[in-house]
Each structure stands twice: as C-alpha cells, then as structure tokens.
C-alpha cells in the first residue's frame, strides 16, 4: 500500500527573518541545542517593523507549533519539549496575544457576537463571494493552496481542548470531532477529503507542502487555533473560535460550491464543500448550544474568553480575505511564492 500524500512529513521551510532563521537552524541540529531563545528574545525589536503578525514571527510560531502535530522531516522529536524553544515560543505567543487584543472590541456580549455571525450580509464581500462571481481557476487554486495549511490538519487543533472539558460540553465536542474525523471511516476524514480536492485540482496534497508559499496572513489563523488549543487557560477562547468557524462555514461553503460549478471543477473539489454545508449546519447548532452553552454553564467566568475567541477568529479571517482580494483585484498573486506550472 502506498503512503497517502496526507501522511507525508513536511520539510522545514525557508526562514523569513532572524527569529525564524534561528529556530529553523536549531531544528537542523540534535536536541538539546544552543541557547537559541537568547538570540531572538534579547533583541530590542524581535519582530521587525511588521510587528507580531509579520512574516518572521508568524512563521516562527507556525514551526514551533508544528512540532506538536507531525513535526518536520529529519527533525529530532525532542524539540517539541525543549525548554529554550518553548521559552521563545512563549515570547512570540504573548506578543501575538497582545496584538490580537489591540485589534478586537472585547467585552462579554456573547449573544451579540453570535447573532452578528448568524446574519447573512446582503452586500457581498468575502473571498467566497469573489470566487463565486468573478474569480478564475488560478485564483481558486491559490485559495486551496492557502487553506491547505489548515485543511490538511482540519479539526486537529480543536482536539487539544477535549481533556479540558467535562460533561455535555465534552461529549458534544467529541461528537463534532468524530464527524470531522470521518465518523470512523478513514476516507471520510475531512482532511482526507481536502487531500482529494488538492489532487483533483492538480496540486500537491502533501501535508504542509505549501508552507513556503503561504504568507503570514494565512499562517496567523492557523497559529491562533494552535495557540488556543495548546493552552488550557485558553479553552474558552478555543470553544468560541470553533463555534465561530462552524457558524461561518455553511454559507461560505455554499458559495464555494457555486464557484466550483461555475468553473467546471472536478467532483472531489465540490464534494469537500458540499460536505461542509451539510455537516456544519449541524455542527454550528451543537457547538453553540451544547459545547459553548455547556462550557459556560459550568464555567461562566469564561464568557469573555469565548468572545475573544470569536472576535480574534473574525479579525484574522478578515485580514486573510482582505489580503487575497487586494492581491487579486490588482491582478497579482496572493501567495508569498507563486505556484510553479
């Protein structure tokens, strides 16, 4: 049996600045390595002029987090728990968190946040609107390429929260995750459906294959999930984030189906989004009422965190969409490194 592309271990990416260079250079060596945190954390301005959402810090975070998922080809698995690397990750995370706090409205109006998400805007805006009405096939392939960084590990970051939940919130979140992971059928795992989509679109379905192509605006939403998932203290935000994502998915996926039909895409491409219309219409209900409702009934003090998770997700998704649309409307590529061929 040949190994599926989705089971590949990715290669380490190219660095994008001094911090990612130090991290990637360290990972080439056996663990433990030299005191790398000192290199980056001691700098006055570790993130350059682009701040915590820039290319260098976002790639560094992405690489640190990936050690907890599949790791990188030839990299010592011991790095996952290397104290120096974790210290550096902590510096990056704190500035990432501060930057997100600066960008969101905050508060604890959970119902207000959810109802805003539940109203379909009449004026078209986002990427799926663009692709459904005027986008072309190369832009569609770029979209797949960006999304592959998350979609090939779809629902993995959210699984970290399971041991931090109890009772109904736990039972219902696991039921949603079971559905995400194919309901017991390997070929139906959503990440596998996305790998089928990639292959049908003539793209490499290898896990993490397009990391070098993905700009920081693409990595930031994935880093947010990993950050919220890996920290028990962020469980409220993780659940808020997950609910927000499931609420936004069905209308976006419907528009993606229209876009793919308009462009004459292969059935595997349509199938991925059709599945997300049906599944997420269910997941959104379960996430809102059972998981978010259940968690806040048990831990009402987490309401503000849940709101933060929703707002941070919306903030980073908006930045991602703005970046793609700006690039496409000016006739350019939205990728950091264009697709070859």
């Amino acid at each position: 049996m040949t190994e599926r592309a989705s089971a590949h271990t990715p290669r380490l990416p190219q660095p994008r600045g001094p911090v990612s260079a130090a991290v990637i250079e360290a990972l080439h060596r056996p663990c433990p390595g030299a005191a790398l945190a000192a290199t980056a954390a001691a700098r006055d301005d570790p993130f350059g002029e682009d701040g915590p959402l820039g290319e260098d810090p976002q790639l560094s975070l992405y690489v640190c987090y990936e050690l907890h998922y599949r790791g990188f080809r030839g990299v010592d698995p011991g790095w996952e728990w290397d104290p120096e690397l974790l210290r550096l990750r902590g510096v990056l995370e704190r500035s990432f968190h501060q930057e997100l706090l600066r960008g969101v409205a905050g508060g604890d109006d959970l119902e207000g946040e959810l109802s805003t998400l539940l109203v379909e805007p009449k004026t078209p805006g986002g990427v799926s609107h663009f692709l459904a009405t005027e986008g072309n096939w190369p832009q569609m392939r770029e979209y797949f390429t960006h999304r592959s960084l998350y979609q090939l590990k779809e629902a993995d970051p959210q699984a970290w929260v399971i041991p931090r939940l109890t009772g109904q919130a736990k039972a219902s979140l696991v039921a949603v995750e079971y559905d995400e992971f194919g309901g017991g059928r390997g070929e139906r795992v959503h990440a596998e459906l996305f790998a089928d989509l990639m292959a049908a679109a003539g793209l490499d379905a290898g896990y993490g294959h397009y990391l070098d192509n993905a700009p920081a605006t693409t990595l930031a939403p994935v880093n947010l999930m990993s950050y919220l998932g890996l920290h028990r203290g962020r469980r409220g935000a993780l659940v808020g984030h997950f609910a927000a994502a499931e609420i936004s998915n069905p209308p976006n996926s419907k528009r993606m189906v229209h876009a793919l039909e308009r462009l004459g895409a292969a059935e595997a491409c349509r199938h991925f989004y059709l599945e997300h219309v049906d599944a997420d219409a269910v997941h959104e209900q379960v996430m809102r009422h059972e998981v978010l409702g259940g968690l806040l009934a048990a831990e009402p003090q987490l309401k503000q965190d849940a709101v933060f998770g929703i707002q941070a997700t919306e903030l980073l998704e908006r930045r991602f969409a703005d970046h793609l649309l700006r690039a496409w409307l000016s006739g350019g590529t939205s990728l950091r490194v264009p697709l070859s061929g």
Partner: protein, 68 residues
C-alpha cells in the same frame, strides 16, 4: 438533544430550533414527498423546516436572517 446518546430504551428526542432546523439523532432515512428516500448517518441530522434549503431535506442554513 444529547448527541451520541443512542440508547434506544428512551424515546428519540427531536429538537426544534427557533427559526431554524429540526435536530434529530442520526442515522436517519427521510422519505420525500415524491417517494425518494435519502439517508444521513451523521450523529445529529439537521432537517430543514423553512423549505428554503438548496440541500433539502437537509438544512443548509438558508433560514438565516439577511442584513438589509
């Protein structure tokens, strides 16, 4: 609704969501008006009540309000 709570000693609970779908524990078979039977083996199935769904009888969130 208790997703995953599949014991059949108790009646199957169906939840009606205000201005939304009907949630039923899966798997389900639905016989449509024209006699066709469709099935879903999801743990919970959302059945359209507004008849606006493009995926009828499954909910596709078309019931949602639109901003003016």
């Amino acid at each position: 609704m208790r997703p995953g709570h599949c014991g059949r000693d108790s009646p199957r609970r169906i939840r009606l969501v205000k201005n939304g779908p009907m949630l039923v524990e899966g798997p389900v078979e639905v016989e449509l008006e024209d006699g066709t039977v469709v099935t879903s083996d999801r743990f919970v199935v959302a059945i359209c009540r507004c008849h606006r769904s493009g995926r009828y009888p499954w909910c596709d969130t078309s019931h949602r309000r639109r901003s003016g």
